[in-house]
Amino acid sequence: MTNLFELALVLGQQEKGLGALGAGIGYGAAAIGPGIGIGYVVGNAITAMARQPEAAGMVRTTMFLGIAFTEALALIGFVVFILLKFT
């Protein structure tokens, strides 16, 4: 009976560890795409600003909007990470 209880405890801890592992890998994977996307957005915005400095204000506002939309995916990954890790 004690052995069974210990086995359940070990299995429970293993499940917790696997959850933490999945959370870490999941967040890492979720950050790849938005990272590349934000790179594209900011890079192209800098190109636009360098070519046309007088339009820098408008480009900057649009760039922040683009970053916000792209970043949302990474942040959803972060929220999933928190849910998997801390609940």
């Binding site: 506002t61 909007l65 916000a68 949302a72 942040l75 959803i76 972060f78 929220v79």
Partner: protein, 253 residues
């Protein structure tokens, strides 16, 4: 929690707050929300009490805030038609700015927006506002048509496009608006807590103390970065609210 022979408080200390003065549900987050609302109220009261032609002091700061919201948020996204929304967007921007900046204020060091209970009602409010604005300006049928059916799509693709548009407009918009603010502030808070705890835990008599400058330098850098994030997230939340409401008001934008 023990890591490299350093002791840390358990993670629950970070996630749950005790009630203040025994009032159920009134904890540090609610208190900070009330305080930031009062700060915004008092700030604009003091600034608007005696309107001077040449502004100075508090009035100067308030006027540049108003001008920032008008020029960078409303005129860029809604046009002069959207100046009607000025009070709402200005209040929202300043409230979020003060609430976010509590993250780096010493002693307080906690942004109330890092709890889903604060950004989610605000996002829901924005959602109902742009829904109501679209229905009021265009009527229910034509608003749904303008939102769900993008122009220039062949009729055979409607079965695919309409559910996607419905999902992205009516479910994903309020959800991502709330999650963006919440996750940014929580991530920043966790970063600050991690490096502050590491610095405090390394402050010992053992040989590990030689590592102390590394997390401390990182803590300083992250603090500066979080000031930027706090301002930027208040700006992004407000400008997205303006974009959504402006799109509902003028569909062919």
């Amino acid at each position: 929690m023990i890591l490299a022979a350093l002791t840390f408080p358990p993670i629950e200390e970070l996630l749950e707050w005790k009630d203040i003065a025994g009032i159920p549900g009134f904890n540090k987050v609610s208190l900070l929300c009330v305080i930031s609302a009062i700060i915004v109220f008092v700030f604009f009261m003091v600034a608007g009490r005696k309107g001077q032609l040449v502004p100075k002091g508090v009035q100067n700061i308030a006027e540049s805030t108003v001008e920032f919201v008008r020029e960078s948020i409303i005129m860029q996204t809604m046009g002069p038609d959207g100046l009607y929304w000025m009070p709402f967007l200005l209040t929202m921007f300043t409230f979020l700015l003060v609430a976010n900046l509590f993250e780096v204020v010493p002693i307080i060091q906690f942004p109330p927006t890092a709890r889903m209970a604060v950004p989610f009602p605000l996002a829901l409010l924005v959602f109902f506002l742009f829904l109501g604005m679209g229905i009021k300006r265009q009527g229910f049928g034509s608003y749904m048509k303008a939102t769900l059916v993008p122009s220039g799509v062949p009729k055979s693709l409607y079965i695919l496009v309409v559910p996607i548009e419905f999902f992205s407009t009516f479910l994903m918009r309020p959800f991502s608006l709330a999650v963006r603010l919440f996750a940014n502030m929580l991530a920043g808070h966790l970063l600050l807590v991690t490096f502050a705890l590491l610095t405090a835990a390394l402050f010992t008599k053992s040989v590990m103390v030689v590592l102390l400058p590394l997390p401390f330098a990182m803590l300083l850098a992250v603090t500066v970065f979080e000031v930027l994030v706090a301002v930027l997230q208040a700006f992004i939340f407000t400008i997205l609210a303006a974009v959504y409401i402006g799109e509902a008001m003028n569909p062919q934008h």
